[in-house]
């Protein structure tokens, strides 16, 4: 095992897949000569050259669309969006072309593209740069959506995403890029659609994705230390496909669920999970399913206020205590 950052884990996944498959190419703004706005692709252009790592102009609609077209003929483009926030400019391509081409062509056409970049709030960059569109994209049948919380997950999931035959929307987090985790030296992949039980417990299930999974882990520690409550933490890792079995398993074990996400609540990912629990775990529940999300307003700039806009471990603790 090596202790590496989330950023390095992504970079290793990219380098390994570029070496493994000559069809893998990286395209995006500032990914080559500049080493990436967030340095995820640092050194890759120097190592693999212009044919594998290419800078594009600020033309999200065109370069994402171009990646989609290229994927139809067998390239495996890994497109970097400097921020997922800029996907709004490329929405038509992502939804109508990447999302639907296989279906509309009666299954004839593959679209093995990965679109990756950070999707998070919490960094005081204001509403236009803090989008968390995992729920919006997961709403499109045809797209897969992944939100890794750790370096280990980021690497294994990115490798699977690149090998996947469907378009995968891969959402990272600028607050995690510099954080370190243990990652095996030897090769591994993590299949899409498999949640990870990050902490075992008996009294309540905290279900989360992305950085919220880490918030849940901190909350679980507080609950154990200060309130003698044993919380189980399930990290969804993929939003679509969704690991329904894992969700039902943990709730059938603890009989209580608190859902946490950094996304906005309205039509959020956790609305989907609540509905799943209502339909399939109603009789297993000892308490109503509760949710904690970002406060339902665009991201505010004001640093002192934005910290309170996203769920904090203490918010989770308070929510859990309300169940007992």
């Amino acid at each position: 095992m090596a202790l590496i950052t989330y950023r390095e884990a992504l970079r290793h996944a990219l380098a390994e897949e570029i070496q493994r498959d000559e069809n893998v190419v990286i395209l995006g703004e500032e990914v080559a000569e500049y080493d990436g706005a967030y340095k995820v692709t640092e050194g890759l252009w120097k190592k693999f050259g212009d044919k594998r790592v290419c800078d594009t102009p600020i033309s999200e609609a065109a370069f994402i669309g171009m990646g989609i077209g290229a994927s139809m003929l067998g390239l495996r483009p890994v497109m970097e969006l400097m921020f997922w926030s800029f996907a709004t400019v490329a929405w038509d391509q992502i939804v109508n072309n990447a999302g639907f081409v296989r279906y509309m062509s009666g299954g004839l056409i593959n679209c093995p593209i990965v679109i990756r970049g950070p999707a998070n709030g919490g960094t005081n960059v204001g509403a236009t740069h803090s989008h968390t569109p995992e729920n919006m994209l997961a709403n499109i049948p045809g797209l897969k959506v992944v939100c890794p919380a750790t370096a280990y997950d980021a690497k294994g999931l990115l490798k699977s995403a690149i090998r996947d035959n469907d378009p995968v929307m891969f959402m990272e987090n600028t607050l995690l890029y510099g954080e370190k985790w243990e990652v095996p030296e030897e090769e591994y992949v993590i299949p899409l659609g498999v949640a990870d039980l990050k902490r075992e417990g008996t009294d309540v299930s905290l279900i989360a994705h992305g950085r919220a999974a880490l918030t849940a882990l901190k909350a679980a520690e507080l609950l154990a230390a200060e309130h003698d409550i044993s919380a189980e933490v399930l990290d969804l890792r993929s939003i679509r496909p969704l690991d329904e079995e894992a969700i039902l398993r943990t709730v059938r074990k603890t009989h209580r669920a608190v859902l946490i996400e950094e996304n906005k609540p309205f039509c959020g990912v956790d609305a989907q999970i609540s509905s799943l629990l209502m339909e399939k775990a109603f009789d297993d529940l000892d308490a109503p399913v509760l949710r904690i999300s970002a406060i339902d307003a665009p991201a505010i700039y004001s640093p002192k206020v934005e910290v309170k806009q996203l769920p904090r471990p203490t918010d989770v603790v308070a929510k859990v205590l309300s169940l007992f």
Binding site: D55, A62, T88, N124
Partner: protein, 332 residues
């Protein structure tokens, strides 16, 4: 409109000092912002306008207070030249309620209805269609105004640039498009992002009148902008003005600037807007060293007042966070 070929006429001394003062104010404001960023008083992203002052200051001279302005995330200079109070801009960057956007927007999202300043927009290219719409409303509601849209040359790679150019020209809307060509979009030199780097020709492709101007010469910028605005107000349709300029500082506060040489930056600094104007005025006998020092002292004091105003500001209570997500007025 090859204004570059003819040196612009000399201004009166009073007018020259107005231009100089505004540029100096922007220069000092931005340098102070850089310090405040390292002290973590200002957070998030910070894009400074240092070096490009002549563009905002020159163009604003040509607008009247009822004209609308749209800018980018590198908009402190536009906001100051437009007349938004420095304290309100600084307080915005401190995230205080007294900021021009209530502390909600930050450096990249300054707004001010009183000066018809419609942002402050951090999505590259996103302001152009809005400027076209402001022009449409002015025309439909019978106001003889011009909408002025500032954007970086990098935005010309976005579809929104092209769609806006076409629409504005097709409907002959009163828009002044000001392309601030500072040669780099983040770390990308023009040559690796644009198949043709002649922005006036892009306008011509849409049948739009266009001209280029030395963006380091505030007198030339003012002159060109006045001519363009006059033509637009006369009903000749939109105009694209390319201002050739340079940013002296990094793209943002996280940019090691490996894509350009120190010599290149030095060269441009020596041809900067403050040097260009003061040299011209000195040669014409309109200006003395004491003027420069007096103005510098004035703007320094103004910037410090802005900082003090920001420091004294208050935080929005978190309970108010959902206010103004939607209108608080039932109907028009």
């Amino acid at each position: 409109m090859g204004t570059d070929l003819f040196p612009p006429p000399l201004p009166t001394r009073d007018h020259a000092l107005v231009l100089l003062r505004q540029m100096l104010l922007i220069r000092h404001f931005e340098e102070r912002c850089a310090e405040l960023y390292t002290q973590q008083k200002i957070r998030g992203f910070l894009h400074l306008y240092t070096g490009e002052e002549a563009v905002a200051v020159g163009v604003m001279q040509a607008l009247d207070p009822r004209d609308a302005v749209v800018s980018t995330y590198r908009e402190h200079g536009h906001a100051l030249a437009r007349g938004i109070a420095p304290g309100a801009i600084m307080a915005e960057m401190f995230g205080r309620r007294e900021g021009c956007s209530g502390g909600r927007g930050g450096s990249m999202h300054l707004f001010d209805a009183a000066t018809r300043f419609y942002g402050g927009g951090a999505i590259v290219g996103g302001g152009l269609p809005v400027a076209v719409g402001l022009a449409l409303a002015d025309r439909m509601q019978g106001r003889p105004q011009v909408s002025c849209c500032f954007f970086g040359e990098g935005a010309a790679a976005e579809g929104e640039f092209h769609e806006s150019m076409n629409l504005a020209q097709l409907w002959r809307l009163p828009v002044l498009f000001v392309c601030e060509n500072n040669l780099y979009a983040m770390g990308s030199a023009l040559s690796i992002t644009e198949s043709s780097a002649d922005f006036t020709r892009k306008a011509s492709g849409y049948g739009m009148a266009a001209g280029a101007v030395d963006g380091m010469d505030v007198l030339a910028v003012e002159n060109s902008a006045r001519a363009a605005v006059q033509a637009i107000r006369a009903g000749n349709g939109p105009f694209l003005l390319e201002a050739r300029t340079y940013r002296f500082r990094a793209h943002s506060m996280f940019d090691p600037e490996l894509y350009r040489s120190r010599e290149e930056v030095e060269h441009w600094r020596e041809h900067g807007p403050l040097i260009t104007l003061t040299r011209r005025l000195r040669e014409a006998g309109l200006f003395a060293e004491e003027d420069f020092q007096a103005l510098t002292r004035e703007v320094e004091a103004e910037v410090e007042q802005a900082v003090a105003f920001a420091e004294a500001g208050t935080w929005e209570p978190v309970e108010d966070l959902c206010r103004f997500v939607y209108s608080e007025v039932e109907r028009a």
